[in-house]
């Protein structure tokens, strides 16, 4: 595969990782693979913005060699220390040992702690600019979008924003641009990416977008470090981030549960019926049969959560426990939730669920409901009523994202 010229003299020299199926260890399922995007700018100073994941270093170097010998690279911009973007640096630095690396102070420290390379590193801060010749680059520190070291690079002459992981998607394609792919899939993957990686950082993101808007810099292309490049309508993804960062939710409910012998599932299904009959949308997931990454994505704009579990060893079951632990880290704001489940003797699952909810800062809309062994008709009716009452709380809670 040859490099791809995204603007005159600026080339995508990244790689497509068609086969990766889990990311960040096993915290994110990448059913559609991903790409690691690196960009080569040909100017008086030959500049590479970010690299790729280490195992793909040779593929990136081959692409670079189509345009210019790697030895000619003068500058390397390291927007982010994470190994999927910096992993090819050691291989690259062996080819151009005199190149200067630019990044934030935390990036410098992080790169050293990852690779222990003795490279010439220039620390940059927001507002610093670097002349490449005809073009220049300016830098905007973007701490916690999504690591402390993160920064955005902007090229004013090209109206090109290179925000690294922000605005990315895990989406392996032969195409490079938003106008060349199915936009419903593109937005599905962008949503999934935000929900699973950036959700807890909403307040930081909202401020950063405000800061960038105030700079009043023209942007006609956003080239992230994963997936598709936004050129048709770059503000579509910025607007989506503003919505997500504002915790804007819809009046809908996600029922997420784990069941041992089907009783908790029976309750879950009846609750879903009650919610639908109350005129509120619902999605239902057996946590062990569904993909956690996709459940989290669905929950991003969902106002109400119902969590169910059978009681096992006086506690909730391990699948839902792991799920709730992950959710806690996402610091969901402006949601309402409640717990349900079946038990045989002492019970305990619903109490444990409520405990995690309170630790997560998620408001408990109503007391939990627990049923001994299999629910009878009366208890099934109680489940239905529980759900319709919950649906009212979701409606009352509004969709403005307030707590």
């Amino acid at each position: 595969m040859k490099p791809y010229e995204i603007k005159k003299g600026i080339y995508w020299v990244g790689v497509v990782d068609w086969n990766v199926r889990t990311f960040h260890g096993h915290t994110y399922t990448t059913k559609r693979g991903t790409t690691y995007n690196a960009y080569l700018i040909i100017d008086d100073k030959i500049t590479l913005v970010d690299t790729v994941y280490g195992p793909f270093a040779d593929e990136m170097l081959e692409k670079i060699a189509h345009i210019v010998p790697a030895e000619k690279i003068d500058y390397i911009i390291a927007n982010h220390v994470e190994t999927d973007h910096s992993g090819a640096l050691p291989a690259l630095m062996r080819r151009c040992p005199g190149a200067k690396v630019f990044g934030t102070e935390k990036c410098r420290d992080g790169l050293y702690k990852n690779y222990y390379g003795k490279w010439e590193f220039k620390t940059v801060k927001t507002g610093d600019t670097l002349s490449l010749g005809r073009r220049s680059l300016s830098f905007i520190e973007a701490p916690m979008i999504h690591w402390p070291d993160s920064m955005f690079t902007y090229c004013p002459q090209e109206k090109l924003l290179l925000p690294n992981d922000a605005f990315g998607q895990h989406y392996a394609t032969s195409e490079r641009f938003d106008d060349e792919v199915d936009n419903s899939i593109l937005m599905e993957e962008a949503t999934k990416y935000y929900a699973n990686i950036l959700w807890p950082l909403g307040s930081v993101i909202a401020r950063k977008i405000e800061e960038v808007k105030k700079l009043n810099i023209p942007i006609d292309m956003i080239a992230p470090s994963h997936g598709i490049i936004w050129r048709k309508d770059p503000f579509k993804i910025i607007d989506a981030y503003v919505q997500w960062a504002g915790n804007t939710t819809k009046e809908k409910v996600a029922v997420v549960y784990e069941t041992m012998w089907g009783a908790t599932e029976k309750m879950a299904r009846r609750m879903a019926e009650g919610i639908i009959d109350a005129g509120v949308g619902v999605t239902l997931f057996d946590v062990n049969l569904s993909d956690r990454t996709e459940i989290i994505s669905e929950m991003l704009d969902t106002k109400g959560f119902l969590f169910g579990s059978s009681t096992h060893d006086n506690d909730m079951l391990p699948g839902i426990a792991g799920f709730l632990e992950f959710l806690k880290g996402l610091k969901a704001k402006g949601r309402v939730a409640s717990a349900f489940g079946s038990y045989g003797w002492g019970g305990g699952a619903t109490k444990e669920i409520e405990q995690v909810l309170s630790e997560s800062g998620i408001a408990i809309a109503q007391p939990s409901i627990a049923v001994k062994y299999m629910p009878d008709e009366k208890e099934m009716a109680q489940c239905y009523d529980f759900a319709t009452t919950f649906a009212q709380a979701v409606k009352k809670g509004g969709s403005d994202g307030s707590r």
Binding site: E141, P143, M144, P148, P200, L201, S203, V204, K331
Partner: protein, 53 residues
């Protein structure tokens, strides 16, 4: 003097320790930190901190 926790990364500012790396001596209450002081771990600004209960 109260401790304050960064809501972004969970770093806790302890006034007894200060933040010497950023030039803040031990014994500086959170309220007396300069406006442009940021979390030494993640870079979040002061408004992202909450009082430890």
């Amino acid at each position: 003097m109260d401790k304050y926790r960064c809501e972004v990364c969970n770093y806790v500012y302890d006034p007894a320790l200060g933040d010497p790396d950023s030039g803040v001596p031990a014994g500086t209450p959170f309220e007396k930190l300069p406006d442009d002081w940021v979390c030494p771990v993640c870079g979040a600004d002061k408004s992202q901190f909450v009082k430890e209960g």
